[in-house]
């Protein structure tokens, strides 16, 4: 099975290499579709074999150190935190390939090879269990995305892709410095002085970072992830990149790439710096809640459908961040399933907008109106995706939002219910901007002559949307089928984080801390200690 995991990760890369020798556009399309479909089918096997009760990484491959004297190893595996996102990536890939079938006509082979490289990078990001490998895989996703937007994008594509690339890079370079510090620190304590980024060593209870160190490292890592997610106010690259990217680029960006930031928070930021994560939880909650309301309000007044969906992403990701920093299983599980949900519903929305764009070559809301009459099947799909996005119970979005809200309402770390209450206002606003957009695009009389010639979506387009729609309904009705994969992993991660926070906090009481650190860690320290005591009593 370890081999299968590696096959799944590298099969797309192999496909990309194959595309180098392909001259015919149609061949390139079919090969990409085959490769991504086979990858998905293989990955299903990983899903079926997954041991739900295990807390450790499964299908673990550990290679030899390859970076000089450093203990940096090739190390991939899947656990509860990563399984669903890994599957989301393999699931979306054939859909993305199909969605660009007719939309991309220039450098087709190049386009698809970029998509395939991007897939290997994304799968690597979710499977990597060495911090350094994570970093490398992450950079592997940035480069094809840079070209996807820069070559196949809209009018303003160069500006958009440079902004996206450089903005993200700045954050991640700062993180790289912090990463090196962590590597040396861990090496000193755990690995006989040899630099290490081995995941198992970094989260060992023996490895304790002091509170002052944690603060700086947390901020450096957090800055990088904030930009990638993006969290308000680091989001300004996102609407631009989404608008200029080709449909496939927008879909991958929304469905997969944005999840890397939130996943990294859950995987690295919180477990690596447990005390700082607890101390900064209210800050992140504040930013998340601002993002929810702010993203929704700005989305409401957008004139471009794609921009509207992009701003709605900022709002939705605010929910995810709020859930992660509530530090309980309900909210974290909600956050994880909400990542998947957002990938599906926003992915579907971008695909649908792309379908309309292919026909009309405009994305301005005012250029539409009344097209429901011309495109009944598309209307139904659009409606389902819209309703999923505004969190209608029975569809997937509700499950995530509800768990996040009920979890953060009950969070001992956040300490107040107001985050959840204000975030819930986002539920009203979401209905407002989505239904208003839907109405202006789909309903009313047809006011533009061009729209009278619109033809409904064809079999290929139906075929690529139906699987997403089915999953939207499936997750909405039987979310347990999906959340079961992460239940143990999330619970274990949170418990372990709290336990380590308590140990470090206890040790820190003997240190002399600067005043700001004392103030910053006072409350979270109490929380952490309290929890430890409760655990002992239980």
């Amino acid at each position: 099975m370890e081999l299968l995991l590696n096959i799944v990760i590298y099969l797309p890369l192999f496909g990309a290499l194959l595309l180098l020798f392909i001259r015919q556009d149609d061949w390139a399309r079919w090969i990409s579709l085959m490769v991504t479909t086979v990858t998905f089918l293989f990955s299903l096997q990983l899903l079926f074999q997954f041991d739900l009760s295990s807390t450790t990484a499964q299908y673990l491959t550990v290679g030899e150190p390859f970076l000089g004297d450093w203990d940096v190893k090739y190390m991939v595996g899947l656990d509860g935190l990563s399984m669903m996102l890994f599957m989301l990536t393999t699931f979306m890939a054939p859909i993305v390939v199909l969605s660009s079938w007719r939309a991309v006509t220039t450098h087709v082979a190049g386009f698809y090879s970029m998509l395939l490289i991007l897939q290997t990078g994304s799968l690597g990001v979710f499977a990597a269990l060495d911090l350094f490998m994570f970093y490398i895989f992450f950079e592997l996703t940035q480069i094809p995305m840079f070209f996807l937007i820069g070559i196949w994008g809209g009018e303003n594509r160069i500006y958009a892709t440079l902004k996206f690339f450089i903005y993200t890079l700045v954050g991640w370079l700062i993180m790289l410095v912090a990463l090196l510090y962590v590597g040396y620190a861990a090496g000193n304590v755990m690995n006989d002085g040899v630099f290490t980024t081995d995941w198992r060593l970094l989260t060992d209870r023996q490895f304790q970072l002091g509170l002052v160190e944690q603060t700086w490292l947390f901020l450096a890592f957090g800055f990088a992830f904030c930009i990638k997610i993006p969290i308000f106010p680091f989001h300004s690259w996102l609407p631009l990149a989404h608008t200029e990217a080709p449909t496939a680029g927008s879909v991958v960006l929304a469905a997969i790439a944005l999840k890397m930031g939130t996943y990294a928070v859950l995987r690295f930021l919180i477990p690596l710096f447990p005390n700082a994560a607890l101390a900064f939880a209210p800050l992140f909650a504040v930013l998340a809640v601002i993002g929810i309301v702010y993203g929704a309000l700005v989305a409401m007044v957008q004139k471009d459908v794609k921009k509207l969906v992009a701003y709605s992403s900022i709002s939705h990701l605010g929910f995810v961040v709020l859930g992660m920093f509530a530090f309980n299983t309900m909210a974290a599980q909600g956050a994880l399933i909400q990542m998947v949900n957002h990938g599906l519903s926003t992915g579907a929305l971008f695909i649908i907008v792309g379908m309309i764009y292919e026909r009309r070559h405009t994305r301005l809301i005012s250029d539409f109106g009344g097209i429901a009459r011309m495109m009944p099947v598309l209307t139904v799909m659009f409606m389902i995706a819209t309703l999923a996005s505004i969190g209608l119970p029975g569809l997937n979005g509700f499950v995530g939002e509800f768990l996040i809200l009920v979890g953060s309402f009950n969070s001992d770390v956040l300490g107040t219910q107001w985050y959840a209450v204000i975030a819930a206002i986002g539920v009203i606003l979401a209905a407002g901007y989505m239904l208003w957009m839907f109405q202006r695009v789909m309903f009313g009389p047809i006011t533009h002559e061009e729209n009278k010639k619109l033809v409904d979506i064809n079999t290929r387009e139906i075929a690529l949307l139906v699987p997403i729609m089915l999953l939207i309904v499936w997750i909405g009705i039987r979310p347990v089928h999906f959340t079961q994969y992460s239940e143990v992993g999330v619970e274990n991660m949170l418990e372990d984080t709290r336990a380590r926070a308590a140990i470090i906090a206890q040790n820190a009481t003997h240190e002399t801390l600067p005043n700001w650190a004392v103030r910053l860690y006072e409350v979270p320290l109490k929380v952490a200690l309290n929890i430890e005591e409760q655990n002992k009593e239980d």
Partner: protein
């Protein structure tokens, strides 16, 4: 009971199958769309079969004091949270199922005729079945979360069906408005769910009602208020009722089913379901009563001044729902449910009757067009009607029966239920905050006077006198020959509902009426039926007071009818209305303007928020947030543009620099 509870699952699932079948077949196979009879029959059957099952369960549930639960599967589970898809069968939920599927099946049947010419026939019936499915989830849910699924689900169907004729922008506006106002209520509802879960760790009704001692009195009040706000959205009460009159943009059967008989009563059902919880706090009960009393009054005043026949019925619905909330707030849950049931009968009858009228008026318009006359008139405006009783005899008779029923004239259905509400409000006046309850009772009396008045104004305006269209529009002379009664499929339904509006009240005859003749009596079927489910306030009044109140409400209702005949009996509408306008002056204008609530919400909340987002936030996002990033980038670029002069790539300038540096260092060494 447990042996039969699995039938409940079928009650819920069958409408879902109907929805999926008609929806999928209609969407993908165009040939299916023209099989109208089959589509309608499948849809109607999908509601009628659950009704039959419910009737069967009804016969089994006699004398049963325990509720039964069927758990289908775990819905959402994460950490400490868990909620099942589980249905609860007891007297209250079964009664609601009977109303929903019974009235629902009738309205489906009626729609087969009413919608016959519509190209979206398949879509209409699949949405209607989806609505029944959601509504059944709402009333059968065993926990608050599943109830919320039904709660938002019916909201969705309401949205889809109000905006059914989506090419008309004003109709899709009305649909959006309905959804958004409901969402405001749903927000409060959600927060209430969080609070309940935080306190008892569960959202099951059993756990909530058996665990009331775990809630502090502040929590009870706050949760109760939040749920009440949720209910004001769904059940169109102050301050969120403004969406319901607009919702009449949907096809008339939708107005009858969703916006009169079933969905809008969800709030009444929910609070009755939680009656032991609400009864804890007298302040909470008072809030419910005030909301209900004021809504009943205000909506009635607006109904006085409307010409659109569906608008009159819409405000009448809001007003009658207000009566139900008044009952809830007075601790009269049985009375509230009683009025819910009778109202479902007579209001569905009225709406379907108005549908029959609109159908006829549309036909007139079509025929005039066919005759080459390009005239347009609003087929819902009663100023163009009058004298229709000669042409639509069945519609007239049933409409009149339902009007008498809603006006509260004995012994029709509305009389018993409304009288019980008035009695119980007066009864609440004997307890805490008595003076306020007495005030609400007076308001309710005035409201029921107005109800009788505006309903007879409506009936007289539509059916009596002579046909006014030819007077109003000269070209339409002789157009009365195009008027015709609706087909039997529609009038048959009207008759069923009309008869129910007559006899429906006998399920809740007050015990004291019979007891006055026989000594003791136990004839109130409904009260006995709901005995184990709702927790009603005790009746403190003596028999004599009850008789007096009963006579009082009859007198008030008759006075309303009499006044209406006095003013509108002469087959005129506008002259008496002008007299009223003169009499009441500015207040009348307020009624016409619907208290300007729409304008206030639009002007104070919606437009400022949109404008703020557009002119402040979007600009801020562009200029400040993105501008800040760009500024950093340009600072870096500027620094680069300065330092680039040091990297010219010319050996001469580097050599010059070296020489310069050497001179500087040497001179520093020499002259220090």
């Amino acid at each position: 009971m447990d042996a039969y509870v699995h039938l409940v699952a079928w009650i819920v699932v069958i409408p879902l199958i109907g929805f999926l079948f008609n929806g999928v077949a209609g969407l993908f196979f165009e040939s299916w769309r023209s099989r109208k009879f089959l589509i309608g029959a499948i849809a109607t059957g999908s509601v009628f079969i659950p009704f039959l099952i419910a009737v069967y369960l009804f016969s089994l549930l006699q004398g049963e004091s325990q509720s039964a639960t069927i758990t289908l599967f775990t819905w959402i589970e994460a950490g400490a949270f868990s909620a099942d898809v589980a249905y609860r069968l007891d007297q209250l939920s079964l009664l609601m199922v009977l109303v929903v599927t019974g009235v629902g099946a009738l309205i489906h049947f009626y729609s087969m005729g009413y919608m016959a010419d519509d190209e979206g026939y398949w879509k209409f019936f699949s949405f209607m079945n989806l609505f029944i499915f959601a509504m059944l989830n709402l009333v059968l849910a065993d926990n608050m979360l599943l109830l919320f699924l039904g709660w938002e689900g019916v909201g969705l169907c309401s949205y889809l069906l109000i905006g059914f004729w989506y090419t008309d922008m004003s109709k899709s506006d009305a649909a959006k408005k309905a959804f958004l106002y409901n969402r405001v209520g749903d927000f409060a509802f959600l927060v209430a769910l969080f609070m309940i879960f935080q306190t008892i760790g569960s959202l099951r009704f059993d756990d909530i009602l058996n665990g009331t001692q775990f809630f502090s009195s502040e929590q009870v009040f706050l949760i109760g208020i939040l749920i009440l706000i949720g209910a004001t959205g769904k059940s169109a009460q102050i301050p969120l009722f403004v969406w319901l009159p607009d919702a009449m943009a949907g096809p008339t059967p939708v107005s009858a089913l969703i916006h009169a008989a079933t969905m809008v009563t969800s709030g009444v059902y929910l609070i009755s379901r939680l009656s032991p919880f609400y009864m804890i706090s007298t302040e909470l009960m008072l809030c419910v009563a005030i909301v209900g009393g004021f809504t009943a009054f205000i909506a009635a005043t607006i109904a006085l001044a409307k010409y659109d026949i569906k608008a009159v019925l819409a405000y009448s619905t809001v007003s009658q729902l207000g009566f139900m909330f008044l009952a809830l707030g007075s601790g009269a849950y049985v009375a509230a449910i009683f009025h819910l049931v009778t109202h479902a009968f007579f209001k569905a009858c009225l709406f379907l009757g108005s549908g029959s009228v609109i159908h006829a008026m549309h036909h007139v318009e079509h025929k005039l067009h066919d005759a080459g006359k390009k005239i347009h008139f609003d087929p819902q405006d009663m100023r163009f009607m009058g004298g229709l009783k000669a042409y639509l005899p069945d519609t007239y008779k049933t409409f009149l029966l339902a009007t008498i029923a809603i006006a509260g004239i004995p012994p029709l259905a509305g009389f018993f239920s409304k009288d019980e509400i008035l009695v119980m409000t007066f009864n609440a006046g004997m307890g805490e905050y008595g003076a306020i309850y007495i005030g609400l009772w007076v308001m309710a009396l005035i409201s029921s006077f107005m109800t009788a008045f505006y309903m007879f104004r409506l009936t007289l305006g539509i059916f009596h006198g002579k046909f006014r269209l030819p007077e109003k529009i000269r070209e339409a002379t002789g157009s009365e020959r195009f008027l015709h009664e609706s087909p039997l499929t529609m009038t048959a339904v009207l008759w069923v509902l009309g008869v129910l509006a007559v006899i429906g009240g006998f399920i809740g005859i007050p015990n004291f009426v019979v007891a006055s003749f026989t000594g003791t009596a136990d004839v109130n079927l409904l009260s006995n039926w709901l005995d184990h489910v709702t927790l009603d306030a005790d009746l403190l009044l003596g028999k004599e007071v009850e008789w007096m109140l009963l006579f009082g409400s009859v007198v008030v209702a008759l006075a309303g009818v009499f006044t209406a005949f006095h003013l509108y009996g002469e087959s005129e509408l506008e002259t008496p209305d002008a007299r009223l306008a003169k009499r009441f002056g500015a207040i009348y204008q307020v009624w016409i303007d619907k208290y300007n609530l729409d304008e206030i919400y639009e002007g104070v909340i919606v437009r400022p928020v949109v404008r703020f987002s557009d002119h402040v936030l979007a600009v801020f996002d562009n200029k400040f947030i993105d501008g800040f990033v760009n500024t950093i980038a340009s600072v870096v670029r500027f620094m680069g543009s300065v330092t680039r002069y040091f990297q010219t790539g010319l050996v001469q300038s580097y050599a010059f620099g070296i020489v310069l540096g050497v001179i500087v260092i040497l001179s520093m060494l020499l002259f220090r």
